[in-house]
Symmetry: D2
Subunit: 348 residues, 4 copies
């Protein structure tokens, strides 16, 4: 921790800070010039938080030094994490595609979508049995019945299931059915749920909260990792801004920025990330081009009758074309990476 | 629901929309001019959501008509809700003040703060036993031991206790100790927790999420109200924006805007709302001047040693002065309201 | 400037930074511990910018030390600036009120409004002759004819005129008529216009840009001050966020935050700041309670016929009541300040 | 214009609205059901603005029908605009690449960069002679001397010049030298400058303001188009949000969203859009994948010594690799478009 004192800090104020540090067994080093005093406190963060020191009289700014994410951090990691779900590798340079309807609505609906998702060569099916809804009057999902249908679909089509766990109460049931458990954006800081996910035997996909910084997102991942589950996948799904041409602002630069900080793989959800069907395919392409490990896309056989999020679901024919385009871009980036000698440059 | 078709919508597209409505027993009325067609669908929202119609071909825009908040809405309410906690009336023109440290840290710390809070004439004590923390490595609160200390403080100082319930698992314990249970900002859309709060026998204070619109906040209140608990208090605590002089942007205009939509009382938390001690008193005054029913302020006997949120906690002497200033402004607004014949104008 | 090197920075990288500094005559001091190296470079900012050093290999973070606002800064100022316009003191503990229609539309409209503004005891009239409009098809103001009407109104009602200068081309004409020249939010970083305002003989009111941080706003003021005009008044008018109950989010905590950094007085415009008539009076009260030196409020005799911004203009009767309420709050804060021994505490 | 009255609107309020319309020669059509009244007013927008009607008593909501952008709108356009600059087609399915330093600093610097930009096969050089700077103390550009150097570079390397016009005063000089004149983000609503650009004989590139919606951006383009200059190119350069891993949030979904509304071509500037060198190449790829007509990228031979924006400038070797990757993605999308029968689907 580096502590910069105000130019007009009194010597008593500097002493107070030094005392706080020494009381915790930290040996600070002080540098003084005419207009400033700064204190370098090695390993302070373990014993003392930056904002506690920042609250002291005479302190201008406190800058942490070491990464606060012990487990999620790329620094010190043995390598980048690859999460395998139903034979699909998320991370490690592969292209992971996940498709399906927003919610399970009926056996017929789920199976129709599952069939064309599988036909397009996609091996992971996403669909919610439990749906988080802003309004208590909106469709809340089929619940356990939805999970049963998902289990059937897995058997019938050989698809891996990605589905959301909304709360600790229903987590066991979701864990049993899912091949990867989703933690939704609204729950990114539901710490009880994160801890439960950390004790889950299945991989967990953690969506970014609508107003979460990259740092807060990695802290949320740290809650899961800290309980012992190392199979964590990040998923960017758009953030809340004032920009109003789309429901959310898909913050794609977080993909290379995350890869610079963490070893965890990262997917992008352009469906929730835009909320507009006509923006989904362009942004799915952009996500792969930016270096994402894959995308999660909503598709529905009959979006007009969808009980949730119809306006953003892709039509079947568009879905298949999108898959081809994404595979093309992925192949191209892989070749570029090969030509560059396999270096992890530029998000490749 | 009012449905505006695109100027170039084909007659088949108009027919499709009409069919969807009629299939649900809705009798639409159609108006046509040279450049537009619009459909008025009474009571459509119960059977059909605006975004489902919005997803149909040829539809330009869908405008809902009636309020989506059945229970939180001011329309149709018998009057404004007043929530009574430990003899303090929140709402109804009274001034409700809540003070205390961010978290319970020790018996000594809690009692020192409780004493001067009570001495300042404040009757409600806020302090967290369970703390939601961005980092898993930060102080997470004393838990059950914290609740025991709060119960002691209630007895000793005659203060009503406001404390946060973090999850369903520990809700029973919090409910037993608290006089008003707080649902924190990060949990504003934790629907399982909201439902549990709706079955709670104590009043519930619902903080606004850092990226929640007023509408989403009222929907969250609707989850609580829908389970039967009508003692709900809203609390604005700052939203996340790019404006960087304070930790959050305290969105004070939401106070009169909320009062125009809902009968629920509303408090303001200028401590989390700014994160800077020197901004707390001015913004507390501003909150009361804007028509808030009260404020929730952090104060700490020794902010430098606070285990959480020290930089924003008010010093004891400032706290007492603030109380006097707030009472002055409140009295003045009450007189202005009297002079205006008691009308609920201008947020008075 | 304080330069923190990455924990894994190589010694060559540290040397490079030191060389850059020494080449500019700066004598850096280096502190090293096991996990970090930091460099303290006195007065570096004059010769070298923080982001240039930040771009160098091995650098983790650069923290500037001294205030970048030489002229706007409170540090080193002789006292707080008071700007006098038509006998009204903006700053110095007085209450400055400015009222009027958004735009000058006709002699009749202007005079009707000017009369009741004056009747309410307000001495400054605001109205635009030149209007910045998002759409080229919207009413652009009466231009020179509008200025002539404003000059007439000044004579007739003894009101000081506050009106906007949109560009360098028409600045001379505005300067001649206005008692205080407004620089609008969209022009906050129109540097040619700022420089022209800096050579203006009249006081200048600088509105905050819709996405400007406090620091950028003070930099814009610095452009004006640097040309020699020291009569600068800041005006907060709402920022752009995703919060959608009002047109803008009035960022009131910027008032005490600005007063902590600069000696310039600050007004608040709750009309543009909310865009909703029913929020204007509560937020005007809140502004004064937060410590603003005054407010700028739109009022119109017939808002439905207003050629611009009708929805936010206050009705005449509301305007007069608002003035009384603001005077009451202002008096109360003055007394509180007196009781505290005249200290500039808590934004008083 | 579609006007929805409040459910509780009185008949007198409905009449008032109808009178306002009829007074302007508009023949409204009224539809009534039990819970709502709506009024369809053809062509109302020409005579009356939506917000004027919205300010009337009893009005719940006003929805405009026809596009407010007469000249920028895709509706009614004869086809998509292609702007040709130095033989490079911006729009029409081609890939337009623009590279260069942020500012012209010296002959040596400019020529070194221009040489490797040209060597990479790029035909357009960007560099500022006049620099808009937040601080008056930052490097403001070489001015006329910078323009002279740009003219030399054009001659020497056969590059087309893209450079910014900061104000009306220096516009003539910029117009003479530039092959395409840039209007910067801070000036997006500098209406005098937009009008001058509209009378310019050269193409104009209009950057999106840091807090401008897509609609406001197209209105700004409308100011230029309205003066007669139809050679307008849009450029997304990142918006201001709270997301803090990059300097701005590159809002890539605006690319397909803009293409759905306007016939104007659109470029993306990932350098200002992220402010971090390591994010530039991934986001440049993403921009092309999202369907942008090209990118504008900063590159500098020696970023550490750059007088502005060094941290985001790409190194020479990375620049050349980026060009190859972008060409690959562009080729691939072109083939996909061919396979789809040339349809303008999915932003292709």
């Amino acid at each position: 921790m580096l502590i910069l004192m105000r130019p007009d800090a009194e010597s008593g104020e500097v002493e107070s800070v030094l005392t706080q540090l020494r009381e915790r067994g930290i040996r600070p080093q002080v540098t003084r010039t005419e207009d400033a005093t700064c204190i370098l406190a090695p390993d302070a963060s373990k014993a003392l938080r930056a904002d506690q020191i920042g609250a002291m009289a005479g302190v201008l700014k406190v800058v942490p030094i070491s990464s606060p994410f012990k487990l999620a951090s790329l620094d010190g990691a043995l390598g980048r994490t690859v999460v395998e779900v139903n034979g699909v590798r998320i991370g490690g340079g592969d292209l992971a595609l996940v498709g399906g309807p927003c919610g399970v609505e009926s056996r017929e609906q789920l199976f129709t979508v599952a069939r064309y998702v599988a036909d397009a060569g996609v091996k992971l099916l996403r669909a919610g049995a439990f749906k988080p809804r802003t309004s208590p009057y909106a469709f809340q999902g089929l619940g356990l019945e939805g999970l049963r249908l998902l289990a059937e679909a897995r058997k019938e089509f050989g698809l891996g299931i990605v589905t959301e766990a909304l709360d600790v109460e229903t987590f066991d049931a979701v864990e049993e059915t899912a091949d990867m458990v989703q933690i939704g954006a609204r729950n990114m800081q539901n710490f009880a749920l994160l801890r439960r996910a950390g004790r889950c035997a299945k991989p967990v996909m953690l969506k970014r909260g609508p107003s979460a910084t990259l740092e807060e997102w990695l802290y949320a991942a740290e809650y899961i990792l800290g309980e012992g589950n190392r199979q964590v996948v990040l998923c960017e799904r758009g953030i809340r801004t004032w920009s109003d041409h789309a429901r959310n602002t898909l913050d794609l630069s977080v993909v290379p920025a995350a890869k610079a900080l963490t070893h965890l793989p990262i997917l992008v959800d352009p469906s929730h990330g835009t909320g507009r069907r006509d923006l989904v395919v362009p942004m799915a392409r952009a996500a792969i081009a930016a270096g994402a490990d894959g995308v999660l896309v909503e598709t529905h056989c009959n979006p007009e009758k969808a009980l949730s999020d119809g306006p953003q679901a892709l039509l079947p024919s568009d879905f298949a074309q999108m898959v081809q385009q994404l595979e093309g871009i992925h192949r191209l980036l892989r070749q570029a990476k090969g030509a560059l000698g396999g270096m992890a440059l530029h998000g490749l």
